[in-house]
């Protein structure tokens, strides 16, 4: 019973660390997906005195992914009744060119500033509308959300690390006697600590399996999937192979560090 309790405390600590890491990964994926979504809908409108080719736009700033020429027909249509056809053609030629620029990713306020500056450096571009006020608010909200989750994950990790350190002291006390006795009979370090490493690796495997089970259930939950659907994004909540191996690796590394600290901190008692 006591042994199960000792195992449980390490497993619980490892599960909470893995859980908070995966939650942070999900939030980051959601934000990236949402940013991509915003980037698809976000554009900058540019007014130029002369026609600029797509190639030229790409040279101005690397963030630009697509250039769409805005037709002046809608403006001209409104004037249609008052102007004759020949003047209309002349007007069409003299009107400035309007372009809608789509970006590769959702830009930060600094990137927008730089883009605006680069565009205005072109002598033909007279006006750039980047809708920066709306953009800045959304961007700041995303950053705030990401930071809140990061702080939350960090706090959880720190608390669980403290739990692990407490666990380390219990394990140190528990295993010190056995390791000392084995040492008195000439057991090499690897043999003395084999039990410890085996136990911690078993705990790491159990913790990874628990987190695997939790996120497999969560990733098929309709409620969670609907939350993402509501904001028009699709996110991989848990990649059964990639995510599992990353979490498993973290868990193994953490438990090996724990066991190594015990072995390194071991003092022979006679």
């Amino acid at each position: 019973m006591k042994s199960i309790k000792n195992h449980l405390s390490l497993i619980v600590a490892l599960v909470s660390i893995l859980f908070s890491i995966q939650i942070f990964v999900i939030v980051e994926r959601s934000i990236d997906a949402y940013k991509q979504n915003l980037a698809n809908n976000y554009s900058v409108v540019v007014v130029s005195q002369k026609a600029i080719t797509q190639k030229e736009f790409f040279k101005i700033n690397k963030l630009i992914s697509k250039v769409k020429v805005l037709s002046p027909d809608n403006v001209i249509k409104r004037l249609n009744s008052d102007i004759d056809k020949s003047n209309m053609e002349f007007l069409k030629l003299t009107l400035p060119k309007f372009y809608k620029l789509h970006l590769k990713s959702y830009p930060s306020p600094r990137e927008i500033k730089r883009l605006r500056k680069n565009l205005l450096n072109n002598r033909f571009i007279t006006k750039v509308e980047d809708f920066s006020n709306t953009h800045d608010t959304i961007y700041k909200l995303l950053v705030l959300f990401k930071n809140v989750v990061l702080v939350f994950a960090a706090v959880v990790s720190i608390v669980t690390m403290l739990l692990i350190l407490k666990e380390l002291r219990i394990w140190q006390f528990k295993h010190n006697e056995r390791m000392s006795i084995m040492g008195l009979f000439g057991a090499p370090t690897w043999l003395r600590s084999a039990v410890l490493f085996r136990l911690s690796i078993v705990d790491a495997i159990i913790s990874s399996m628990i987190v695997f089970a939790i996120f497999t259930v969560l990733s098929s939950s309709n409620w969670i999937l609907n939350q993402f659907k509501n904001i028009d994004i699709s996110v991989v909540i848990f990649d059964n192979v990639g995510d599992f191996f990353i979490l498993f690796g973290i868990s193994i590394v953490l438990s090996i560090i724990l066991a190594s600290m015990i072995v390194l901190g071991h003092k022979e008692e006679v």
């Binding site: 006795i181 084995m182 008195l184 009979f185 000439g186 022979e268």
Partner: protein, 223 residues
């Protein structure tokens, strides 16, 4: 006759200013039975601990089983300890292991095959009259029974040297007698060198022995 222990000007201490054993010179021949006596706190156990490298020498040279302990590496010390059987007054059994596994430990450390370890443990359990308790844990046994397990563990890998620190202190007569018989048997039948730290030398023992007495940090041989 080979010497299993040679001590030259050995000084031992736990702190820099207090010397427990001062400039000791002695040797122990292979296959002999040695008693170390002395008053409480005289340094008997300290001397015994130095023989398996648990205490570093303050000064001098101490060779045990051909290994110089004043400048021994960890791997060499492990090698030496694999050839020594130690019996402690407080038994030092691994509480979470069965007594069978406790006895098996030195055999596992020495890399014996499973069939050998199983046979050896079975035979030793019979010798210490604990065959029926094989699956029990140390804390389920009495003090005398635990010391018999510790004795079996010390004998299990046929060591060249057995070091026993007050092996019968606090034990009942039956267990004490059994332990002395086992030590006597190991010495006479297997020619194992036995060094025992004790307050009282048993009168029932049928072996020739050497007797060292420690007083005021000095080791004196008594004939």
């Amino acid at each position: 006759m080979d010497r299993v222990i040679v001590a030259k000007n050995v000084s031992l201490s736990y702190t820099a200013d207090e010397t427990i054993i001062n400039q000791a010179n002695f040797s122990v021949n292979s296959g002999s039975f040695v008693f170390i006596t002395g008053a409480s706190g005289s340094g008997k156990s300290t001397l015994l601990k130095s023989l398996f490298g648990a205490i570093k020498l303050k000064q001098g040279s101490l060779v045990v089983g051909g290994v110089e302990l004043s400048k021994v590496s960890r791997s060499k010390l492990n090698f030496l300890r694999r050839h020594i059987g130690i019996v402690f007054q407080d038994y030092k059994l691994v509480k979470e292991w069965t007594i069978e596994k406790n006895i098996m430990m030195p055999l596992i450390i020495n890399g014996y095959e499973k069939s050998v370890t199983t046979n050896q443990v079975e035979s030793l359990l019979k010798h210490v009259r604990l065959k029926h308790q094989a699956g029990k844990y140390p804390l389920e046994l009495s003090g005398g029974e635990q010391q018999r397990v510790a004795m079996a563990r010390a004998l299990s890998h046929n060591p060249i040297l057995i070091l026993a620190d007050e092996p019968t202190g606090n034990l009942d007569e039956y267990s004490s007698e059994l332990i002395w018989k086992l030590l006597e048997g190991a010495n006479t039948q297997l020619e194992t060198t036995v060094i025992v730290v004790t307050h009282h030398i048993p009168t029932s023992l049928n072996v020739d022995y050497k007797h060292f007495h420690i007083e005021y940090g000095t080791i004196n041989e008594i004939n």
